[in-house]
């Protein structure tokens, strides 16, 4: 890879202890994130997909240390994030920002837009004087498609899409390099989603931002990302360029996931490929390959041994077998 690696994650694990009994003994762990490793290159959009229980939300927060990881190393632009403390951590926080899913909850209902933006700038000392801050606030609002009249309003006076834009403006106020987008459009209408996604793409070009885009909406991830990782029960099943993931996946989970996407074209002949069973919970992780109970191709080996994520030409896959999904034949 000629592009520099902005974010390097090595074997990230976040486990939550389950306490029970009168003296609150730790009887087990919710292994939300159970060992993921990947790199994000500068300027790219790295997509992360997975269903509920996959751990993608926890992974995002662990990278930023909003939730403390249990194990693993995170490097941002060469700096060790896992070990940073105090002021160093704050400086890192300025460069790694996050947009959350729920635009109705992520803004303090008692703050005006102006106050939010100025506070963001104050926290990181981005501007010197009040007038400079005011200028910049107006500039940011314009960038995200809002105007001066919105500056002194409270969050409840805005729609969902507008609130997300405010959140984006707030994040941009501190000049970040890296942005984690955790389901930024899930709560938005289709038409609003389109404009927010367009805005994100434009901003990425203009400010040379790097994105980690998380969503359960596979079509949206496909639209936004360059490379995609598929997560299941805390681990990556497959990581590759987006076209490979969507059109010629190698992992059975990825295949079923892609086959389940509803296509807005009624004439598109889709084969009925259904995954049985429910999305499992990370409390009780199956032995061997964690996908084996739902996998129609699982063998004995899958039950016993957990496959490791191995790479071949930039395509990472965690599966013991090489499966041809058209015919259902298991090769190797």
């Amino acid at each position: 890879m000629q592009m520099e690696d902005l974010l390097v994650v090595k074997n990230l694990k976040t486990w939550f202890p389950i306490k029970s009994g009168i003296i609150q003994r730790t009887v087990g762990h919710v292994k939300a994130v159970d060992g993921i490793s990947f790199t994000v290159h500068k300027g790219e959009t790295f997509g992360l997909v997975g269903e509920s229980g996959s751990g993608k939300t926890t992974a995002a927060r662990s990278i930023l240390r909003l939730i403390e990881p249990t194990e693993g190393e995170i490097y941002f632009d060469g700096i060790n994030v896992s070990k940073a403390k105090g002021n160093k951590l704050r400086k890192l926080r300025r460069r790694m920002q996050i947009i959350f899913q729920d635009p109705y909850a992520s803004l303090d209902p008692r703050q005006t837009v102006n106050s939010m933006l100025i506070e963001a700038m104050k926290i990181h000392g981005v501007t010197q004087s009040r007038s400079e801050a005011h200028e910049r606030a107006l500039e940011l609002l314009n960038k995200v498609g809002l105007s001066e009249e919105h500056l002194y309003r409270f969050p409840h006076e805005f729609s969902g899409g507008q609130r997300q834009r405010i959140a984006v403006a707030r994040v941009l106020a501190v000049n970040p390099d890296f942005l984690i987008l955790d389901e930024p459009t899930s709560f938005l209408d289709v038409s609003v989603q389109a404009s927010v996604l367009n805005l994100l793409k434009d901003l990425q070009k203009e400010f040379n931002l790097t994105y980690l885009f998380i969503s359960h909406n596979l079509a949206v991830v496909h639209h936004m990302s360059n490379r995609v990782a598929v997560m299941y029960l805390g681990k990556f099943m497959e990581v590759a360029e987006k076209d490979i993931i969507y059109n010629s996946p190698k992992h059975p989970y990825t295949y079923h996931l892609m086959a389940a996407i509803p296509v807005p074209d009624p004439e598109f002949q889709k084969e009925e490929v259904l995954l049985t069973g429910d999305v499992p919970s990370p409390v009780d992780i199956p032995s061997g390959c964690r996908f084996h109970p739902r996998c129609p191709y699982s063998t004995d080996k899958c039950k016993r041994k957990e496959p490791s994520l191995t790479e071949k030409d930039g395509h990472w896959i965690a599966c013991h077998h090489d499966i041809d999904f058209e015919s259902g034949e298991i090769r190797a």
């Binding site: 909003l66 996050i98 959350f100 209902p109 005006t112 009040r130 002194y152």
Partner: protein, 392 residues
């Protein structure tokens, strides 16, 4: 910081003007009134000089403060009009919502009336009347002799009302067992009660809220420790504690207030902690942490302002509660002096004559009821209005 200095300067200047004028008047001879300050008789002239000097100093000092503030550029540029306009519009919406409920409006009116009454009581009725004639030992029992705002012999109390009680008058609510006009006693009693309520409620709320906020936000051992200590205080019965304090420190109003204070703050801890715990989970807190905000900023600038409403509601409700509890204490005999005008005390002394003179207990009781009810209504209205689900 600069704004504070500027404001402080302006206030000082205003006071300075008032004092200067007062002093000048006194100096000019006034009405020959004499003051008694610490058993020393002072003539109006001497008092006038003091006031004049103090007034001029304050005037000059205040002006200086404003200049200093501006010179040192501590004063920020005028806060943007938009920001304050937005907050004012928000407040107006709250008031509008309040106006819609007739009960709440009635309650607020009554509450405001009583608060105003408590501030002006001294002007309406001569505190001297509280001292029953023929009982010189009760001379200094009225607490307002120590109050600095409008002391018995204050400048504002000049006028015909000061020397009173000559000849027969109308007793609208009857007299009590000492021959005092009951209506006037009730009016005098209201400030005492309101002052009690304010002191106990405000201190208990402030202290309890801060501790509760700390416990809720920090969690862990601190939270546990605070909760356990609060539980201990929860267990104290107010009356027993008052008895102990009274026995140890004597039966004075401050002692009783302290006793009530110790019993009154635990509910605020629980309330605030609960609020903090639920606010902590909200999205914007996480967003702020992601932004890089420190814990202090998040706690004091975001979480606490968002959690304060139930505290306000509880505080207004507690107003009535404190008055009632105080009355109960008076009834049980904890009053500093039997002639102290305080609603509970009046009711207590009236209890003995309940068959011959029922008005002695009815009217003070009724007053207590109305005050408590008024504040209750205000509290209810606040709760309805500030409920975020109903607001937007």
């Amino acid at each position: 910081m600069g704004l504070l200095m500027k404001l402080g300067g302006i206030v000082t200047v205003l006071f300075g003007i008032v004092f200067t004028l007062a002093g000048a008047y006194g100096l000019a001879g006034g009405t020959g009134i004499t003051f008694t300050i610490n058993e020393r008789v002072v003539s109006a002239q001497e008092g006038g000089i003091v006031f004049l000097i103090v007034g001029i100093i304050m005037l000059l000092g205040g002006i200086a403060m404003t200049y200093v503030a501006r010179a040192a550029r501590l004063m920020p540029e005028r806060p943007e009009r938009g920001e304050w306009a937005a907050r004012w519009a928000d407040l107006k919406y709250t008031l509008h919502l309040l106006r819609k409920n007739p009960l709440v409006m009635a309650g607020s009116m009554i509450a405001i009336f009583f608060v105003a009454l408590s501030l002006l009581a001294n002007l309406i009725v001569d505190p001297n009347l509280a001292v029953p004639t023929g009982y010189p030992e009760f001379e200094h029992s009225y607490p307002f002799q120590r109050k600095f705002m409008w002391p018995k012999h204050s400048v504002i109390n000049w006028g015909p009302g000061v020397r009173l009680y000559e000849g027969p008058e109308q007793f609208y609510l009857g007299t009590d067992n000492w021959g005092r006009d009951l209506l006037k006693m009730i009016i005098l009693a209201i400030p005492v009660d309101v002052e009690n309520a304010v002191i106990v409620t405000v201190l208990a709320a402030t202290f309890g809220t801060l501790i509760g906020a700390l416990a809720g936000y920090v969690g862990g051992v601190v939270e546990e420790a605070v909760l356990r200590i609060t539980d201990i205080f929860f267990a104290f019965p107010a009356l027993v504690l008052a008895l102990v304090f009274a026995a140890m420190f004597g039966r004075t109003l401050p002692t009783l207030r302290l006793a009530l204070l110790l019993v009154w703050w635990p509910p605020y801890v629980r309330l605030m902690r609960g609020q903090i715990l639920s606010e902590k989970q909200k999205g914007y807190v996480e967003a702020l942490r992601g932004l890089g905000a420190g814990h202090l900023r998040i706690l004091f600038r975001h979480i606490i302002p968002n959690s304060i409403y139930p505290i306000l509601v509880q505080a207004t409700l507690d107003f009535g509660g404190v008055i009632l509890t105080f009355s109960a204490l008076m009834f049980l005999g904890f009053s500093p002096s039997p002639s102290l005008p305080e609603l509970g005390n009046l009711a207590a002394s009236g209890y003995e004559h309940i068959f011959e003179a029922p008005w002695l207990i009815i009217f003070p009781g009724l007053t207590m009821l109305i005050i408590a009810l008024a504040f209750n209504l205000v509290g209810d209205g606040l709760r309805d209005v500030l409920d975020p689900k109903l607001r937007r």
